[in-house]
């Protein structure tokens, strides 16, 4: 089997501001073709990590390799192959959308014909507004222009830092679809930061969670979110009877906790129907079965929800 190509390798990255550790030994790898979710609560160190990857800030220690080259020594080579939005999509408000794109295209390292500028404007759905000054643009429109700016020089790697922040629901859906389009139609590798798990779940194939600057967990989204060992809540009519039945059964299950209506049980996915049958056969009415993923719980705890 062919080994996957690493596009970004972050190793033991540390960034300190005085005594404050903004990033504390963070490590993760992004592979070619990934939509890589970079997840963490606000203040977790996502933006600092992204800014360090993009050489906006200097790391205190650690190494960043992109396209198998060290950012510290191959900055122009690497940046020529990256398109990015860091936090808000800020542009020159006194220039038109078209002029803004031309300004950034001119220094992107490749010759970009005017036709390409118009194609990209059309791709992000801003056709007809290209001559308008940016001061008349909504946040959503600026975000679209931000994506246009990342694509203008056809980069291999796209880094999007919280691209849906401040957008209305339709705007979020539009940007999400644009990102998926980039992955499927243009075969881009995308590093996408967010503090919303569901957003990453919908778009990313791999992800890392960081908190307080540290890498908490990383891996494929499917593996992390659909871990076999789940906590499942069973809503029943008689919690005490159900509890005794489970404890006396040969299923060997661990009951995490109970409340008035529910039992929370550690159980593998394939054993859920067996337990359900056992409860029903014993005359216990099961009103609902709800799987609670450990990671989701954990992440909700992290963000204090």
């Amino acid at each position: 089997m062919q080994e996957e190509e690493k596009i970004i390798e972050v190793s033991h990255l540390v960034k300190n501001y005085g005594k404050f550790n903004a990033v504390d030994d963070a490590s993760f790898d992004v592979y070619r073709g990934d939509v890589y979710g970079f997840l963490g609560p606000n203040g977790a160190g996502k933006s600092t990590t992204i800014r360090t990857i993009l050489s906006l800030i200097k790391p205190t220690s650690g190494q960043i390799k992109i396209f198998n080259r060290d950012m510290a020594t191959h900055r122009p080579y690497i940046l020529q192959r990256i398109g990015c939005i860091v936090e808000k999509p800020d542009f020159y408000n006194y220039l038109s959308a078209e002029k803004n794109l031309e300004v950034f295209a001119r220094i992107s390292g490749v010759d970009i014909p005017k036709k390409r500028v118009h194609e990209i404007i059309e791709f992000v759905g801003l056709k007809g507004r290209e001559k308008d000054k940016l001061r008349s643009f909504s946040h959503g429109m600026k975000q679209r222009l931000g994506i246009a700016q990342t694509l203008i020089h056809d980069p291999e790697l796209i880094i999007l830092d919280e691209p849906t922040t401040g957008l209305d629901p339709q705007g979020i859906i539009d940007i999400r679809n644009l990102i998926l389009q980039l992955k499927h139609e243009r075969n881009k590798t995308i590093l996408l930061s967010s503090h919303i798990l569901s957003e990453i779940e919908l778009i990313a194939n791999r992800m890392v969670i960081i908190n307080k600057g540290k890498t908490i967990v990383q891996g494929s989204v499917t593996d992390l979110l659909n871990a076999r060992d789940l906590i499942v809540s069973f809503q029943v009519n008689d919690v005490e009877k159900a509890k005794q039945l489970i404890q006396s059964s040969t299923l060997n299950l661990v009951i995490e906790s109970t409340d008035d209506k529910n039992l929370f049980i550690h159980i593998a996915q394939e054993r859920i129907p067996i337990l359900n049958k056992l409860l029903c056969d014993s005359g216990i009415l099961v009103y609902s079965i709800e799987a609670k993923r450990k990671l989701e719980d954990y992440f909700l705890k992290l963000i204090g929800a």
Partner: protein, 281 residues
């Protein structure tokens, strides 16, 4: 190649920014007011210069001419133009930080030194445009209204008269030295701009430094006399030396050297700071 493309970008940005036209507008307005005042009350102004010499000299011809008007205007305005220059050059880096566009700029495959030097070059070009506009308004428009003639200058050596043919090269040389002093101010404000994430700070700081240095230059305190010759503000009026007779060449060279040392020193600090700066805006 990317450097020149980025420099072109900087020209576009300066040309598109409304604040870039404040300086042009201010120069146009102030010079127009001075020209109007001279047109109305010029004779009185001339009498102030000629009165002390009327018993020993007789004055004939067009004394209140475009050459004299240009000299007066330059003398009045060259101290104030730095503020107008700093309005634009003090915003070159900090303005990008305030807008947030610096994040995009610095993630492009161009070195930070090139980004800064592009901005510097564009700032110097803007300074040149401002000075050329001042020269045009003072010399060309002045001559259109007041005509031409020999030029009378009252300086430390008394009254000096330059023939009409002897004037233009003095203005050209004087403007060149004045340009060097304005570039020093532009470099100072660009350097301060690298330390700030808002535009107001560098602009106000530039003016504060100019005012502070000017005050130090005028204080008759022995301990300050040692530093006074090295303050760039002391050399901002060095252009007037071209209207002395004989021209103090050594003094002019010294002023040029001190201004150049300031420019190189400040630019080095700016490049170092901009390269080391964490972009947090």
């Amino acid at each position: 190649m990317k450097f020149w493309k980025n420099t072109y970008n900087e020209f576009i940005k300066i040309a598109a920014k409304p604040r870039s036209y404040i300086g042009i507008g201010a120069i146009t307005l102030i010079v127009s007011i001075i020209l109007f005042a001279m047109r109305v009350d010029g004779a009185f102004f001339i009498s102030l210069i000629t009165k002390p010499f009327e018993q020993s000299l007789s004055f004939e011809g067009n004394i209140l001419n475009g050459n004299l008007i240009a000299f007066v205007i330059l003398q009045m305005l060259i101290v104030h133009v730095p503020l107008l220059i700093a309005l634009v050059t003090g915003d070159l880096v900090s303005g990008e930080a305030a807008m947030g566009t610096i994040r995009l700029l610095v993630t492009k495959p161009i070195s930070r030194t090139s980004i800064l030097l592009s901005k510097y070059l564009a700032g110097c070009a803007y300074t040149l445009v401002m000075l050329l506009w001042l020269m045009f308004m003072a010399l060309v428009v002045g001559k259109m209204i007041f005509g031409t003639g020999d030029m009378m200058v009252l300086n430390g050596n008394g009254l000096v008269v330059f023939s009409e043919q002897d004037v233009f090269w003095r203005f050209a040389s004087g403007f060149s030295l004045a340009y060097l002093s304005l570039v020093t101010v532009a470099t100072l404000s660009l350097t301060l701009s690298c330390f700030s994430d808002n535009s107001i700070g560098p602009i106000v700081s530039t003016m504060a430094i100019i005012i502070l240095f000017t005050i130090i230059s005028t204080l008759d305190v022995p301990v300050l006399e040692k530093v006074q010759p090295y303050l760039f503000t002391n050399h901002m009026v060095a252009w007037r030396n071209f209207f002395d007779d004989p021209i103090p060449v050594a003094k002019i060279i010294k002023s040029g050297e001190i201004l150049l040392i300031h420019i190189i020193g400040l630019l080095t600090i700016a490049i170092y700071k901009f390269n080391k700066k964490d972009i947090l805006s």
